[in-house]
């Protein structure tokens, strides 16, 4: 692991020092705390990464509607895709957030068995993404900024979901987000499960809570394929590095939102307060940017993600792209 450690420490140091958001007004108060945590978890062990996965999935962790309840006034939920169905795994709505109307999206898991079944464990059908898309249209028309809370094991892998166009719905939801000219802030508040997550996370600012995870595949799924043994999920998680710190290092997220000591599940009110502050800070930053410029920067942000070299055979030893990433504000 020697080479990995070196690469990552180097990357981490250089990246963290240049992150704009962490220096932002209202998150800066948390900076020392974050740095303390970063030091504590300087190079997390496999077990520590796995603990993050377990916290991200903790059954007492606050879900989208728990935050909505604490952060929004006059909230109304929007139901249905205006076409075929209402998908309870996807919440859409409008509410007052610090005095202004914002549009909200977010997956919703269930708290007890009955609600889990009803919410399909937070796994969205294409109809859920279509509800999200009509909400985006609504937000765009009325110039409502958008907040998107990501918390899903993934898009639902069922026969009907496939027949109704799961892949196309995820693609088109992203395409629509890339066209909006209103500010969009996304935060992964639990599980950021692959395509099901990115469908509502093509945002101007992408945040992650300290103990959230964001991954292209579940550790279990990855283990089943690469180790041919689903039981190797701890190793797979260590390899995938789905934790907030690694995700930040790779430039995939813009900032980490602190949680109460011990995790969001220990104090929902405090978790909501911290999340609300981070969202507000991001929305304030973005509200200064004209819509077309916002969209331009949003696309450039995602355009810059990826690590590759231009040499005919791979010789670079750093994990960073050999092409400079476009500057972001």
């Amino acid at each position: 692991m020697a080479r990995e450690t070196e690469v990552h420490l180097r990357g981490r140091l250089s990246r963290l020092k240049s992150l704009n958001l962490l220096r932002g007004a209202s998150i800066s108060g948390e900076l020392s705390r974050l740095q303390r945590q970063l030091e504590q978890t300087a190079e997390p062990t496999d077990e520590e990464i796995w603990q993050h996965v377990e916290l991200a999935r903790h059954e007492d962790r606050p879900y989208t509607l728990d935050y909505v309840e604490r952060m929004f006034d006059d909230f109304i939920e929007l139901h249905g895709d205006r076409s075929r169905a209402e998908d309870p795994a996807m919440i859409a709505g409008l509410g007052r957030f610090n005095g202004r109307t914002v549009a909200l999206l977010g997956q919703q898991k269930g708290r007890d068995t009955k609600e889990r079944l009803r919410r399909n464990y937070g796994m969205t059908y294409p109809e859920g993404y279509r509800k999200a898309m009509r909400t985006m249209d609504l937000a765009e028309r009325h110039r409502f900024p958008m907040v998107s809370l990501v918390d899903t094991p993934g898009a639902f892998p069922g026969v009907a979901a496939e027949q109704h166009g799961q892949g196309g719905a995820i693609a088109r939801s992203q395409a629509l987000m890339s066209r909006l000219t209103v500010p969009i802030v996304a935060c992964v508040i639990g599980e950021g499960g692959s395509g099901g997550a990115i469908a509502i996370a093509l945002a101007d600012r992408v945040l992650m809570q300290e103990n959230a995870m964001y991954s292209v595949i579940s550790p279990e799924g990855c283990a089943a394929i690469l180790w041919r043994d689903g039981g190797e999920k701890v190793k797979a998680a260590a390899a995938l590095k789905p934790d907030a710190i690694h995700t930040l290092e790779l430039g995939v997220i813009d900032a980490i939102v602190p949680e109460p000591e011990g995790g969001a599940h220990t104090d929902w009110d405090e978790a909501a307060r911290l999340l609300g502050e981070a969202l507000q800070s991001s929305l304030e930053d973005l509200s200064q940017v004209p819509g077309e410029e916002l969209r331009r920067r949003r696309r450039d942000r995602f355009r810059s993600l990826g690590v590759y070299s231009s040499s005919p055979s791979s010789t670079t030893s750093t994990g960073l792209s050999t092409e400079p990433a476009p500057a972001r504000k």
Binding site: V159, A161, A199, S218, E220, L226, L305, S313, G319
Partner: protein, 285 residues
């Protein structure tokens, strides 16, 4: 129903077969006929007996589609990095070297300028032989550059996909190739450009859930599996009985996701027709 359900964006949608007893690649899996390379090549890699569409390599696909001598490859020098220092049973870097040696290609996509039936266009063609056509940073970057090249030259983009999904060895960065390619296609569309998406077997997971689904016109080859989640994972997680044509092009057209199923022998004239319709320099436009 187990409370935790695992969803794989990288599920290899290969036909059921163990690594040990792979049938010969030139044996038709549908009817068992066996052919020499030159026989199949002469038939565009379509079984003359039963119309099974064999997978074609990227360069062969380009030979089939592009007017002779018009293809000029772009960004051929891009190579994958190993940002996560990913190591499972073997290091990712080792897999990459091996794939390049086996396929003679730098990664799972080939892009470049071309003309089809004398209409200039940009081609982006995936190659399943390179790590299952999985999309990592290089595939994402190449697709973006293909969009940019199409926009710069004012020509349509034709993509031909064949992919098991995102390349999990690049972790979250492979997931980010979804929004990255989506943004590139939207940039192309904002520039007035058109995109024609041809889905070959298999077009699944992260590729289906990003650029491949954004074509102005979307067609597929007969029998191609087009699914966000492949049949095995769906079966395992939901224990649903799958329809016989689950996820196949024939099912997708019935459910409204495709403009047409186009056999490989008709693909070149079909794409040519669509290109003429979208060509900004056509007569009257």
């Amino acid at each position: 129903m187990a409370e935790r359900i695992d969803i794989s964006i990288e599920h290899r949608n290969l036909p059921e077969q163990s690594a040990n007893e792979k049938p010969h690649p030139n044996t038709c899996p549908d009817c068992g006929s066996h052919y020499r390379d030159d026989e199949l090549a002469a038939k565009l890699w379509v079984c003359p007996h039963c119309n099974h569409h064999f997978r074609v390599r990227a360069k062969e696909r380009i030979r089939q589609l592009a007017d002779e001598g018009t293809f000029v490859e772009e960004a051929a020098d891009l190579r994958s990095e190993d940002p996560l220092a990913f190591f499972d049973m073997r290091p990712y870097t080792e897999r990459l070297v091996e794939a390049e040696q086996e396929t003679g290609q730098g990664d799972a996509m080939v892009i470049g300028a071309a003309a089809i039936e004398r209409v200039p266009c940009e081609l982006a063609v995936m190659d399943f032989a390179f790590m299952g056509g999985s999309m990592g940073s290089v595939v994402g970057e190449k697709l973006v550059r293909a969009c940019e090249s199409a926009a710069a030259r004012g020509v349509p983009l034709v993509s031909v996909t064949s992919s098991g999904g995102a390349r999990m060895q690049e972790g979250i960065l492979s997931l980010m190739q979804l929004p990255k390619t989506v943004c590139a296609v939207e940039d192309l569309k904002d520039a007035g450009g058109a995109m024609i998406s041809v889905m070959a077997h298999p077009t699944t997971a992260g590729v289906l859930a990003s650029f491949a689904s954004l074509g102005d016109v979307i067609v597929a080859e007969p029998g191609a599996l087009l699914a966000f989640t492949g049949p095995r994972v769906v079966q395992q997680t939901t224990r649903e009985k799958l329809p016989d044509d689950f996820g196949l092009a024939e099912s997708n057209v019935r459910f409204g996701h495709l403009d047409a199923i186009v056999g490989r022998r008709d693909l070149r004239p079909y794409v040519g027709r669509v290109l003429r319709l979208f060509s900004r320099n056509g007569p009257g436009n």
